[in-house]
Each structure stands twice: as structure tokens, then as C-alpha cells.
């Protein structure tokens, strides 16, 4: 067991370190050596880093101390039903992977029952657990598993930086199952993939570590929805990590939809690596959780890359929602666009921190960042900060942040046409949100979300 001396100001991590020992023992038999090594490296980084505190520049507005105090339990029974899946399924014709408290549920998913499937276009979709268990059947490992395992071994933990972020480290240490999508070169999936994570903690708070790996080969294409849902008012901690590797010319649309319970903690990192001419379109829609933190990081590591990060965060009551984006322009002729909108009501807090690094090589970079915030109450706050570090001279980098209220002129115009005050405000708030939601290209998701937001503002 790894011990750390409790220094002043550090949050005690012994609970997690001890839990790792138990976890390691219980999974030793079923896990290959390479996976155990990844976990071990994860826990060492975590032990070294410890939980961040408000003194860390990266975490100055987001206090994670309450998370560290939660009892650390990782796995409990699920209580999902097909109806519940349908209610959160957008009526979407898709490949669906359903996880409950971190474990894959083949019966409620929409891929082959063994938990891995090769699509008609040749993409492979599956889970870490299924890949491991089918590969273990020595007499007849399936083709999917034969394909997935080397990909997992090569890519799992490769992009995400367990050495820099305690929560990435913790997730890596406790990685138990994962959604895995591997697209060989030229493979273009026609149906989207819906990864649905339910967390349920009716009695005691639990902790889950959702993990997603997307490996997009040259010129491949897919749309992925990563979706987090909880049960009302249940307290738990969902700590997610997603790695996306886009090879030359690959196109990925990634839509993260966070609808955790209002008492939940949600901390997630998306780490993308882009090769030349690849396109990443990312949406982060954050609606639920008491405390939500999203790190969305991309490295633009080739020329002719497009990277678009869209975000919408809604917070009310005492919710805190924090987005930290970091884009590294490493090579010339790449474009990045960030559009983040926040709507904050009651005593809610919003945080947006957008970093853009432009390396000396990255001439002709075009980076644009916009963060707009709507404060619907006098007690709501937002902390917004662009952070540009530019080391090339021939670049175009713009950023803009606004914090404001609804426009009185627009409200009056609507009222002057007979639309009541409440309705007029609602229309304008909805329009502000729709500006981001409309960028989602999966019709069913966009339409359902738009309706959901409209109903939400109706309340």
C-alpha cells in the first residue's frame, strides 16, 4: 500500500488508497498485466497529486473537499428498466451501451449480447470487460475482441494525463469497465453511438469511474453521445475520463450530456488528440449535478485541423458548474472555435476558463473563443477567464467573454406584440440556449434537448 504523509492543507486520501488495495486484489485474477500496470501507475499519480484544493490555480473556484469526504464505495446493485432506458434514448436508432454504476449491462444495451460488435461498416464497438472475458475463452476468442484488446492496450491511458490531474489518476487507478469504439481507417458509422451511464445510490453515496475510449482511424467518421443520468436527489460521485484519438482526416462529433442528480458530484475530463486534417466537434451540455467540473483538452497535432468546442451550462439553486478547456495548437494552419454559453439562476456559480496555447511552430493558427453568460438572478455569479499563450507571430486569436442580463429592449418588443413578461423572458433564455444546442447535428438529440430545455425554463 502506498502511504502519503498527511501534510497541512492536503485532503486525506488514505480512504482511496486503502480502497485501491482491496480493488487491486479483487481484480488481480481477471485483469491482464498491462491493465494492472495502468491502474498502479494511476494510483501512484493520485497518491502524489492528492486532491486539489482552492489554492491550486486550476481549482480556485471549485472546492472538491466534500467529494473526498464521501464514503468510498464503488459498486452496488443497479435498478434500471427498459422504460428508463427508453426515456433517455432520444428515440434514436443507434448502437447503445448502457452502464449502471460503472458496470456494463448487456441486456439493456443495443449491441450484440456478448458486449462487442462489429458494425456493418467495420467499426468495432464494445467494452473493456467484454473484450477481456471473450478473449479469455481461449478456444474461440471473437474477432471483435481480438481487435479491441490490442487497441485498448495501446490507447487506454495514452492521451489522458494521470500525472497532471488527480481525478484522471483516480479514474485510471479504478478503471473497471470502459466503453470502447475503434474505427479502422475509412470506416464511417451511419448510426450514432449512445453511451448511457446511470448512477444509482438509494442508500449511501457511491463513486463510479466511467471511462470511454474512442480510436478513430484515418478518414473514419462517427458520432458519439456520452450521457450521464442520475436519480433525483441521490448523492454520489461520478468521475469520468474520455480519450479520443483522431488520426489523419478522422471526423468525430462528441456530445456529452450531463444530467446527473441534483445532489451528485460530477468531474470529467475529455482528452483529445488530433492528427492532420481531422475534425473534432465537441458539445458539452451540463444541466445536472450539485458540482460539475469538465476539463476538455485537445492537442492539435498536425496541420489543417478543425476543432470546435461548444458548451452550454445551466445552473440554479446552489449548483456550481465549471468548464476548463485547454487547446494546444502545436502545428500550423489549424482552426479552433469555442462557443460556451452559461445560464445561471438563484445562487448558482458558473466557471469558464479557456486556455489556448499556440506553439512556436503553429503559424497561421486561427483560434476563436467566446463565452457568454446570462445571469437571471442578482445572487448568481460567474467567473470567466480566457488564457492565451501565444508563441507564434502569424496567428489570429480572438476571445470574448460577456456577462449580462436579458435585453430589456427585446423583452419590451415581445411584450408589445402581446407576449406576456414571463413568456417573453423564457423565449429569450431559450433562444440563448438554443444557439448552442442547434450546433448538435444528431437531429433526435438536438430536438429532444431543445424541447427539454424549453420545458425546463417553463418551470
Amino acid at each position: 500500500m502506498i502511504q502519503t504523509a498527511p501534510s497541512s492543507g492536503r485532503i486525506n486520501t488514505n480512504l482511496h488508497l486503502t480502497a485501491f488495495d482491496v480493488f487491486e486484489r479483487s481484480t488481480a485474477e481477471s485483469s491482464p498485466h498491462w491493465l494492472q500496470a495502468i491502474r498502479k501507475a494511476g494510483i501512484s499519480h493520485f497518491a502524489e497529486l492528492g486532491f486539489p484544493t482552492l489554492k491550486d490555480e486550476e481549482w480556485r473556484y471549485t472546492n472538491v473537499a466534500p467529494i473526498a469526504k464521501l464514503p468510498f464505495r464503488t459498486r452496488v446493485e443497479d435498478r434500471l428498466s427498459p422504460d428508463l432506458i427508453e426515456a433517455h434514448g432520444f428515440g434514436l436508432d443507434c448502437y447503445r451501451l448502457v452502464f449502471s454504476n460503472g458496470s456494463f449491462l448487456p441486456a439493456l444495451s443495443n449491441i450484440a449480447l456478448q458486449g462487442t460488435e462489429t458494425t456493418q461498416e467495420g467499426g468495432i464497438i464494445g467494452t473493456l470487460s467484454a473484450a477481456l472475458s471473450t478473449a479469455a475463452k481461449h478456444n474461440s476468442p471473437t474477432n471483435d475482441a481480438v481487435f479491441l484488446l490490442p487497441a485498448l492496450r495501446k490507447h487506454l491511458g495514452r492521451q489522458a494525463r494521470a500525472n497532471e490531474n488527480a481525478f484522471v489518476a483516480l479514474n485510471t487507478a479504478f478503471v473497471y469497465d470502459a466503453a470502447v469504439i475503434v474505427l479502422p481507417g475509412q470506416v464511417k458509422l451511419t448510426k450514432p453511438i449512445h453511451i448511457l451511464h446511470f448512477t444509482s445510490s438509494p442508500k449511501e453515496p457511491i463513486t463510479t469511474f466511467p471511462r470511454t475510449l474512442i480510436v478513430a482511424g484515418p478518414e473514419s467518421e462517427a458520432k458519439v453521445i456520452e450521457h450521464y443520468v442520475g436519480f433525483e436527489a441521490e448523492e454520489y460521485f461520478s468521475s469520468a475520463v474520455t480519450e479520443i484519438d483522431l488520426e489523419g482526416g478522422a471526423r468525430i462529433e462528441h456530445c456529452k450530456l450531463q444530467e446527473e442528480s441534483a445532489a451528485a458530484f460530477h468531474i470529467a475530463t475529455i482528452q483529445a488528440h488530433q492528427a492532420a486534417r481531422s475534425h473534432l466537434l465537441s458539445h458539452s451540455i451540463s444541466i445536472g449535478a450539485k458540482l460539475a467540473r469538465n476539463n476538455i483538452n485537445g492537442v492539435l497535432d498536425g496541420s489543417g485541423i478543425e476543432c470546435t468546442l461548444n458548451g452550454l451550462y445551466l445552473a440554479k439553486g446552489d449548483q456550481l458548474v465549471d468548464h476548463h478547456t485547454a487547446l494546444e495548437h502545436a502545428k500550423p494552419h489549424c482552426n479552433s472555435h469555442e462557443f460556451y454559453h452559461g445560464i445561471l439562476n438563484d445562487r448558482a456559480t458558473g466557471v469558464f476558463n479557456g486556455k489556448i496555447f499556440v506553439r512556436p511552430d503553429a503559424q497561421k493558427t486561427d483560434a476563436k473563443q467566446t463565452n457568454r453568460n446570462l445571469l437571471l438572478s442578482d445572487d448568481a455569479t460567474v467567473n470567466t477567464k480566457p488564457q492565451l499563450e501565444i508563441f507564434a507571430d502569424d496567428v489570429r486569436c480572438t476571445h470574448g467573454a460577456t456577462v449580462g442580463q436579458l435585453e430589456e429592449e427585446a423583452i419590451f418588443y415581445l411584450r408589445a406584440r402581446g407576449i406576456g413578461l414571463d413568456n417573453a423572458r423564457r423565449m429569450l433564455v431559450h433562444a440563448f440556449a438554443a444557439d448552442i444546442v442547434n450546433r448538435i447535428t444528431i437531429d433526435e438529440v438536438r430536438e429532444k434537448l431543445d424541447q427539454q430545455l424549453f420545458d425546463l425554463f417553463e418551470k
Binding site: Y413, A416, G420, L428
Partner: protein, 253 residues
């Protein structure tokens, strides 16, 4: 229909309207003219319930109801309509959605059933012809990216859909070229009926060549200093406002 009695209004302590008396009956077209800064637009804003203006004295009755007691949206539902001098761009709010919501508010208030999407589309197609508006405008957010002329035409188009009893046109002619002015004016004329009324607010006589008023009033320094028929507008076009203002100050001296 509309009766304004001794209306006084101020903004931030500055007196703008200093005793307006004006009666408009159904079927009439009135024009209010006057130099800039005399209170023409203030009168329009007060009529539709802009809250920045404080009413310090006087009364406005609309079809027997005390208009000053009503919120802006209630006035609109009662049938008061303002074609804005500067229509507001509302990003993200779709034009069709907005107009359908507005029309259904008015219809609900009148005790009529709300129109569904299909019925509404049929109605607006017909009304668009009056203003020679391009249908693609309705797919865009309200007024967003519209040219100056398109915005003004869109105001009259909304008027055609909402069918108000009293339409107030605030400088609708400003910024319009002659072709656009003709289209707007002909639209307004087509909307004229025995049971509605129009109040045109304009700086220039030009508009009145196309929309012929029954009455012309000159507003100066917060009061109506002269009323007449359409020939007054022509006289103003020829002689300007100065003679009237001098005449007025001679009277009050």
C-alpha cells in the same frame, strides 16, 4: 376609439408631453407631424406602455378602458400596435414561432381558438403577399440581419397578421427608399378598415402622399399646436414649421 386627455409625461424628470388632447375614431387616419425632439415618439411609446416614462397628469382611454392601467402585453392584446421606429433584433427567436405566439395571445384574449401550425402558415402566406416579403425572412430569427427596409416591412407584416384596432406607425417611412415606401404604404392602405384606425408619426410629408390622412396634427414642445386636414401637411411641406412655431409663441406671449 382612442381618447387622450391632457396627457403629461416625463422621463428622468424631464417634461416631454405637456398636455396632449387627441381623439381618434374608428375608420380614421391621423398624422402627427413636427420637428425633431418635440415628443412625437414619446407619445407613441407612452401609448404602448413603455415603463421609462412617468405619466404625471392626464388620461388615455382606449375603447372606454383606462389604457394606463394596462401592461404593454395587455394593450397589445386589446388591439394597440406600434410599428417600431427601430425594430429590435432578437437572435435565436424564430420569426414564425414568435409571430404565432403573438397572434395566439391576441386570439386567446378575444376568446378565439388558437391557430395550429398549419392554419397559421396558410394565414401568413396570404399576408406576406401584401408586403411582398420574401418567405425566407420568416425562417430567420426576428429581424436578425434584416436590412432597414426589411425591418420596416416586417413591422407592417406583423400588423397585417395581428390586425390591431389602433396601429401606430412611428417614423415607418424613415430609411425607406421610394420603392419600399410604396410597398409599405400600399400595405398599410390595404389594412385600413372602417373598424380600425391608424396613427402615423412622421417628420416628412412624403409618406402622406401615399397614406392620406383624415387629420393632421402638429406637435411642438409637448403640445399639439395645430390640427387640420391633409392640406396642413402640404402647407408644412411648403413653408416648414417655423411660421407655425412663431404663430404659436405669439399666441402664448
Amino acid at each position: 376609439m382612442l381618447e387622450i386627455r391632457n396627457l403629461h409625461a416625463e422621463i428622468e424628470g424631464k417634461k416631454i408631453l405637456k398636455g396632449i388632447d387627441l381623439t381618434i375614431n374608428a375608420g380614421e387616419v391621423h398624422a402627427i407631424m413636427g420637428p425633431n425632439g418635440t415628443g412625437k415618439s414619446t407619445l407613441a411609446q407612452v401609448l404602448v406602455g413603455r415603463e421609462e416614462y412617468a405619466i404625471t397628469e392626464g388620461q388615455i382611454l382606449f375603447q372606454g378602458k383606462d389604457l394606463l392601467e394596462l401592461d404593454p402585453e395587455e394593450r397589445a392584446r386589446e388591439g394597440v400596435f406600434l410599428a417600431f421606429q427601430y425594430p429590435v433584433e432578437i437572435p435565436g427567436v424564430n420569426s414564425t414561432y414568435f409571430l404565432k405566439a403573438a397572434l395566439n395571445e391576441v386570439r386567446k384574449h378575444k376568446g378565439l381558438t388558437e391557430l395550429d401550425a398549419m392554419e397559421f402558415l396558410i394565414l401568413i402566406k396570404e399576408k406576406m403577399k401584401i408586403l411582398e416579403l420574401d418567405e425566407s425572412l420568416l425562417k430567420r430569427p426576428v429581424n436578425e440581419g434584416f436590412s432597414g427596409g426589411e425591418k420596416k416591412r416586417n413591422e407592417i407584416f406583423q400588423m397585417a397578421v395581428l390586425e390591431p384596432k389602433l396601429a401606430i406607425l412611428d417614423e415607418t417611412d424613415s430609411g425607406l427608399d421610394i420603392d419600399a415606401l410604396r410597398i409599405v404604404a400600399s400595405g398599410v392602405n390595404k389594412l385600413k378598415r372602417p373598424d380600425n384606425a391608424q396613427l402615423l408619426i412622421t417628420h416628412y410629408q412624403r409618406l402622406l402622399n401615399y397614406i392620406v390622412p383624415d387629420f393632421v396634427h402638429v406637435l411642438y414642445n409637448g403640445r399639439i399646436i395645430k390640427s387640420g386636414d391633409k392640406s396642413l401637411a402640404l402647407e408644412l411641406e411648403e413653408r416648414g414649421y417655423d411660421w407655425l412655431i412663431e404663430e404659436q409663441s405669439a399666441l402664448t406671449r
